[in-house]
């Protein structure tokens, strides 16, 4: 690289999120985002004045009916007089937003950055917001489930995975959510039988294997090395982060295991010096909006060989007390304010390596992966965070 001075280490020093629910009728959009931001500032023991810049992300503006809402949210997020960036990369946006904020620190443009992602889905109907017909494009059918169900079916055919694997994921994630006070769904009476008996929505995806529609926000304070040294609680250190995109559809696209996802993970592992992700990563927060995406992403991210991902799920490896816990927080299956869902994955990964995940903490987690995807399985954003500062 020509005249590149080397990157500044990036630390997560504050994390805050709202209690995610179906409808937050008690707060405005500004009130919702401010709640998460204040919690992140409180966690970092910083004030608005300590923040140099704000990077905000959310999914389509139609979900709230506000065009470029960051303009209206500048005051609520203490951004007046500061730089404010608004990222939108479809479902991966929560992750991409955190990565853009991290770049501001890594590139030594700013020392302390507030990043936040939100969705207040009760303001509209997201499923139909995603179902607009586009001339000359293959229709997305009814909501995201209609788009992704055939790819789940393709995975099942390709791997011969038993029909029950999806329900195992949902049963696990919904039980994990019971240990997460911020999760939207707290189904105390959940049983595997109930998941398997729930109505079929988009064959083979059942109602209980589908993400909810949530109102929520998630915020993080990112800081440079000096900021990390002042932090009152252990920071999470960024060891690798990347985004990859590919077109929505084209001849030869592998919807089951997209190349962009593989490339993105490989880039993150290279930056972090990870040779064997299954052995070297202690916990994973991955974007699983429909249950079957857990085994699919386990393969795409290199935690299992092709065709083997479902075996990890089936054998309990991805349970909270398993060898490779996945979605300890309950995941997207338990909480889905779409624009924030990626950032919640990133933040939950950071909580794990900070040892602050509470009841859903993986004991001794040192390295955790946060993962997000969006669009037609085409946008990927990932970061790997660790309890120790990066070596370089």
């Amino acid at each position: 690289m020509s005249n590149a001075p080397g990157k500044e280490p990036v630390a997560v020093v504050g994390i805050g999120q709202t209690e995610h629910v179906a409808a937050r009728r008690d707060v405005s959009i500004a009130g919702l985002v401010r709640e998460a931001a204040l919690r992140a500032l409180t966690d970092a023991e910083l004030t608005w004045a300590d923040i140099d810049a704000v990077v905000i992300g959310k999914a389509p503006d139609f979900f709230e009916g506000v065009m470029m809402p960051e303009l209206y949210l500048a005051d609520a997020l203490g951004a007046v007089g500061k730089p404010m960036l608004r990222v939108h990369t479809a479902g991966s946006v929560g992750g991409s937003t955190a990565l853009v904020a991290a770049s501001l620190v890594a590139g030594r443009v700013h020392g302390t950055v507030l990043t936040l992602a939100f969705e207040k889905q009760s303001e509209s109907n997201a499923m139909w917001g995603l179902s607009l017909p586009v001339p000359f494009q293959q229709p997305l059918l009814a909501g995201a489930g209609g788009f992704f169900a055939p790819h789940v079916r393709a995975y099942m055919r390709r791997t011969g995975a038993p029909d029950a694997v999806g329900s195992l994921v949902a049963y696990k994630d919904r039980r994990n959510a019971l240990k997460n006070p911020y999760a939207h769904l707290h189904e105390h009476d959940i049983t595997l039988e109930k998941v398997q008996a729930s109505p079929m929505l988009w064959d083979p995806i059942r109602y209980s294997e589908t993400c909810p529609s949530s109102d929520g926000a998630c915020a993080m304070v990112l800081a440079d090395r000096a900021g990390a040294a002042r932090a009152p609680r252990p920071p999470a250190w960024l060891h690798g982060g990347a985004m990859r995109s590919e077109p929505t559809m084209f001849a030869g696209k592998d919807f089951v295991s997209p190349q962009a996802g593989k490339d993105c993970a490989a880039d993150v592992y290279r930056q972090a010096g990870i040779a064997d992700p299954r052995r070297e990563i202690d916990a994973v927060e991955m974007y699983v909006p429909f249950s079957w995406y857990e085994p699919m992403w386990l393969e795409n991210l290199g935690f299992a060989d092709e065709g083997e991902g479902w075996k990890l799920t089936e054998s309990g490896v991805t349970e909270l007390d398993g060898d490779l816990p996945v979605n300890m927080s309950g995941g997207v299956l338990s909480t889905n304010p779409i624009g924030a869902s990626g950032m919640i994955r990133f933040a939950e990964a950071a909580l794990q390596v900070r040892g602050q995940a509470g009841e859903h903490q993986v004991p001794g987690a040192r390295r955790a992966l946060g993962h997000a995807y969006g669009g037609g399985s085409q946008f990927f954003a990932m970061w790997l965070v660790g309890a120790e500062p990066p070596l370089s």
Partner: protein, 349 residues
């Protein structure tokens, strides 16, 4: 200490009132091909790609995903998108190059205002609880700002007409402009603004290529080095702002180093004549500075691309050797709420 990054290529569409026969992708593709051809780069050579556009103009969610087809994102690319004017996409790409993760970046932006009523569409940017329900449109809000400026004795209607005439006269030399040459100053659209004080409504796209260090010199005879770039936002509520001033522009300019030495050229994103007056004051631009030699947003204002075009136009003058140090400005939001300033320089001749 920033890494040296330059704009090495710029392309834009011929901006038109309506491109009904072209999709956003079809409108964008020739521009992408133009900047790639100018640098000899292929999509796979580009280290980072970033774009700016708006779902509200396109009228559907995730509209930017289709533009990826035009980029040709295969094999997969490192890519991001801002729901902002392309000037902020350029900023994100500049940050990416600062990290050293990439040496080149492709930045593009596009917007078609023609399918809807852009004056009404932009009201959806306003506070959704207290202001948007009243549907105050973009021209009405700009007129409030213009009247405040006149009331403060900072300008008058003939001076605003002068800004309009100078801009469209300058656009004579700009083959991409939508309005060129004498344009009747017209009747009041919203008093005190006449049609001539307002930007044309149109469709368009633009793209630039950024490169760092020696790579920039390989790709461009005279790179337009980004000596500084910064952006700042102001409160959203118009009632708590002094509309005759633009403190966010001034602060961004300070941070970008604009006041260290005078610039010879300024490309200002001022969709309304009155906003150019505000910006020139905030930036302390003297009579010796050539303002908007392209004709500015008064000659072509493709929403979401018009800010990036200011950066591109300023860079192109440095490429051509008609400027040595230029200021480029982009704005977003009602009455100049959010502003970006970049200072561009060419190597000594």
């Amino acid at each position: 200490m920033n890494r040296d990054v330059a704009i090495v290529a710029f392309g834009q569409t011929g901006h038109r009132r309506a491109c009904d026969e072209l999709s956003e992708v079809e409108m964008l593709m020739p521009v992408l091909h133009e900047v790639l051809a100018a640098t000899g780069l292929k999509t796979s050579d580009i280290g980072f790609t970033c774009s700016g556009s708006s779902d509200y103009l396109a009228g559907r969610a995730f509209s930017f995903t289709m533009a990826l087809d035009g980029v040709g994102a295969w094999p997969p690319i490192s890519e991001s998108h801002v729901e902002m004017d392309g000037a902020w996409a350029l900023y994100e790409a500049w940050v990416k190059l600062q990290t050293g993760d990439a040496d080149t970046a492709l930045v593009y932006a596009y917007g078609k205002s023609s399918p809807g009523s852009v004056r009404d569409v932009l009201t959806r940017q306003l506070d959704p609880y207290y202001v948007a329900p009243l549907w105050p449109d973009s021209v009405a809000l700009a007129a409030l700002q213009a009247q405040a400026l006149i009331d403060a004795g900072e300008t008058d209607e003939p001076a605003l007409a002068g800004v309009a005439a100078r801009s469209r006269d300058a656009a004579h030399a700009n083959s991409h402009a939508q309005l060129r040459g004498p344009v009747p100053h017209g009747d009041y659209l919203v008093r005190p603004l006449r049609t001539g004080d307002c930007p044309p409504i149109g469709d368009g796209a633009a793209a630039v290529v950024l490169a760092a260090g020696e790579r920039a010199r390989e790709l461009c005879g005279r790179p337009a080095w980004i000596r500084g770039v910064d952006h700042r936002i102001e409160p959203h509520g118009l009632g708590v702002r002094d509309l005759t001033d633009s403190p966010s522009t001034r602060l961004a300019a300070e941070r970008a180093g604009a006041f260290v030495r005078p610039v010879d050229t300024a490309e200002l994103h001022a969709p309304f004549t009155s906003q150019e007056v505000v910006l020139c004051r905030a930036l302390r631009l003297g009579d010796d500075v050539t303002v908007n030699p392209s004709g500015g947003a008064l000659a072509a204002n493709p929403v979401m691309a018009a800010g990036l075009i200011r950066l591109g136009e300023a860079a192109a003058r440095i490429h051509r050797g008609t400027s040595d140090r230029a200021l480029a400005h982009a704005t977003s939001g009602p009455c100049l709420q959010q502003n970006l300033v970049a200072v561009l320089e060419g190597d000594p001749r």
